[in-house]
């Protein structure tokens, strides 16, 4: 009896949680398969309609009136480029900086570390005006560089790698020295392979962070061709006169979810491999 209850209670909780998360997504999916009139005809049906192909094709190819005809496919591409550059850029910068802080003794090492640490307390929103000024002076407005560069520096990733590097035993460094591996070789042959689960985890987090950026892309891009998907969805809703094309908004919202989901699924394999391979 006890074991059966022990199985069912966690399952019930899990299923309830799953339903809470999935139901809105299901409603969005149903809405993306109806015509606008069917959606507005309250209460909206919960059975998928026949417009699914037409709606998605319309959204992908031409967007809505309020996005100035900018197609969602282009927005997805913009967001993808932004998220990838931010995620890869952050990892590429944090790995060597954490390596320097942990494995080398140089003057002002502590100052460098605390300098990086302090920037944790200054998120993009706080420093957005000076950052905008710098981006404008450098002529980065309305470009991929402007969209991504200011978000690439990352204290969080540096700290995370630092904490991980501190767990690498000194003897491993010394064994490498005796084996004749210099600092670069040790970094490439040992530190990076050992960090790969951390890298995979960070990549997922940072990709989603980049994908969901709203305030900064809103400021730094003007032209419709640079619109990201998150801003695109917002534009589709916030239109004064015309009616919101909810069927297209829902289709766009579901499309916007796909790349992050794909990244999580792809990286999941790495997590599992990493968990199984953890030393000791």
């Amino acid at each position: 009896m006890r074991t059966r209850r022990g199985i069912w209670i966690p399952h019930a909780v899990l299923l309830a949680g799953l339903a809470l998360v999935l139901f809105p997504i299901y409603v969005a999916f149903v809405a993306s398969s109806l015509t606008l009139r069917d959606i507005l005809d309250a209460p909206m049906t919960l059975v998928p309609g026949p417009e699914i192909v037409a709606n998605y094709r319309a959204a992908l190819a031409s967007g809505t009136v309020s996005t100035s005809g900018q197609p969602v496919a282009a927005m997805l591409l913009n967001s993808l480029v932004m998220a990838l550059v931010i995620a890869i850029g952050k990892i590429a910068i944090s790995l060597p900086s954490a390596y320097a802080v942990v494995f080398f003794r140089f003057p002002l090492r502590r100052v460098c570390f605390w300098g990086i640490f302090v920037t944790l307390m200054l998120p993009v929103e706080v420093r957005i005006i000076p950052t905008y000024k710098i981006a404008a002076d450098l002529g980065l407005i309305d470009s991929y560089a402007g969209l991504t560069l200011p978000l690439v520096a990352s204290a969080t990733a540096t700290l995370l790698f630092r904490q991980f590097f501190l767990t690498i035993p000194d003897e491993l460094v010394e064994a490498a020295k005796i084996d004749g591996a210099g600092p670069w070789r040790f970094f490439i042959d040992t530190v990076i392979p050992l960090s790969r689960t951390n890298i995979a985890a960070l990549f997922v987090i940072l990709f989603i962070y980049g994908w969901n950026q709203y305030l900064w892309p809103l400021l730094v891009t003007d032209s419709p061709s640079m619109t990201t998907i998150v801003i695109g969805i917002r534009q589709m809703i916030a239109n004064g006169d015309a009616q919101t094309a909810w069927h297209l908004v829902m289709a766009t919202a579901l499309l916007a979810m796909l790349p992050p989901v794909a990244v999580v699924l792809a990286m999941q394999r790495w997590f599992v491999v990493g968990l199984v391979e953890t030393e000791k």
Partner: protein, 352 residues
């Protein structure tokens, strides 16, 4: 084939000197063990030879070449670490081959060398495994293999057996000894375990608080320890060290007068060293011990007894078949030449 020479090697961290001028040589093919309690500077000494710590003053010579300013990789040494320091993400083969790859050796030669070392160490079937799939003893062998493939001038061992369980430690101790004799590679071996030190060493360096108290073959150190520290550290169970006084007829310890060759003026205070294994049951002996505790090891029993009624505790090794009762008083004797005397101030050995 190579020699290692340390000449007045010192190490300071800021103001604090941790190694106070060690001078010694390791002959070609010799295995010298540095032994001492934790914090005595023995690992620091080894790390200076490896080049992982800079030498504050003095010189380190490998094969006659001063290597003070030479990078570890160019010293032609190989080191076995306490926690093995295997690269966790590399296979056993790659772990052994890595140092050779860094030296840009030809692939075929690397393969040949790794396979030869794997054969010696019985690792042939494990070459494709990762370190985490190996037992403690196997990891230890891989660490040895990594040292062997390099065919270095000198092997350095930093407490390589401390992470193994007691049984495996004894087994690996024998293997290391055999291997070192077969290969004939000059070796410096650091340990805190005096049994390991005694069984492995051609010569021992006993370190105490950053200084070498005595350097010599294991049995010479056992028979004629130069200081009270060496006397207490070498031998198991440890030597009894008791305060006593020189008399006309011998030395007195807590009222018991032991016949000994007279060393020093009568009345002089001395530290008397008596090895438990040299204290013999003798019905008319001068030493009377009241039995307080017995440690039965099977072949022998270690007897802890109080000297006189309120004297210090002493240990004696008695045959395992001998079964005294707790509280019983027994008489012991010791041969005069087996009594060690030390100066209570300088702790140095008195006479010979």
């Amino acid at each position: 084939m190579a020699t290692l020479t340390l000449d007045a090697v010192r190490k300071s961290y800021g103001e604090r000197e941790v190694v106070h001028g060690i001078t010694c040589g390791v002959a070609d093919g010799e295995l010298v063990v540095v032994v001492g309690p934790s914090g005595c500077g023995k690992s620091t000494l080894l790390r200076m030879v490896a080049g992982l710590e800079p030498v504050t003053s003095g010189t380190v010579l490998i094969d006659g070449r001063i290597v003070n300013a030479v990078e570890p990789k160019d010293r032609d040494i190989a080191m076995v670490f306490q926690n093995y320091a295997l690269y966790p993400h590399m296979s056993v083969y790659d772990n052994m081959a890595y140092g050779l790859k860094m030296r840009k050796m030809r692939r075929t030669e690397i393969r040949e060398r790794v396979e030869r070392a794997a054969g010696i160490l019985q690792l042939r079937d494990l070459l494709a495994r990762k370190p985490r799939q190996l037992s403690g003893g196997q990891r230890q062998r891989v660490a040895m293999g990594r040292a062997i493939v390099r065919d270095p001038k000198i092997f350095l061992f930093d407490e390589p057996l401390s992470n193994l369980d007691a049984q495996l430690r004894v087994q690996m101790r024998v293997e290391i000894k055999q291997l070192q004799q077969e290969l004939g590679t000059t070796s410096l071996y650091v340990t805190h375990d005096q049994v390991e030190a005694m069984t492995l060493a051609d010569r021992l360096i006993v370190m105490n608080a950053g200084a070498a108290d005595q350097i010599g073959p294991p049995l010479a150190l056992y028979e004629r320890p130069a200081t009270a520290f060496v006397a207490g550290f070498i031998g198991s169970p440890a030597m009894n060290l008791l305060h006593g006084q020189v008399f006309e007829s011998g030395v007195a310890v807590n009222g018991a007068v032991l016949p000994a060759d007279r060393r020093g003026e009568p009345g002089r205070a001395v530290l008397v060293g008596l090895r438990p294994e040299h204290i013999e049951l003798a019905p008319a002996g001068p030493v009377s011990l009241r039995v307080e505790l017995l440690e039965r090891l099977g072949a022998d029993t270690i007897l802890h007894g109080r000297l006189g009624t309120d004297g210090p505790i002493m240990t004696a090794r008695v045959p395992g078949t001998f079964q005294p009762a707790i509280g019983e008083t027994l008489a012991f004797g010791i041969r005069p030449e087996r009594i060690h005397l030390f100066d209570p101030e300088s702790k140095r050995r008195l006479g010979n």
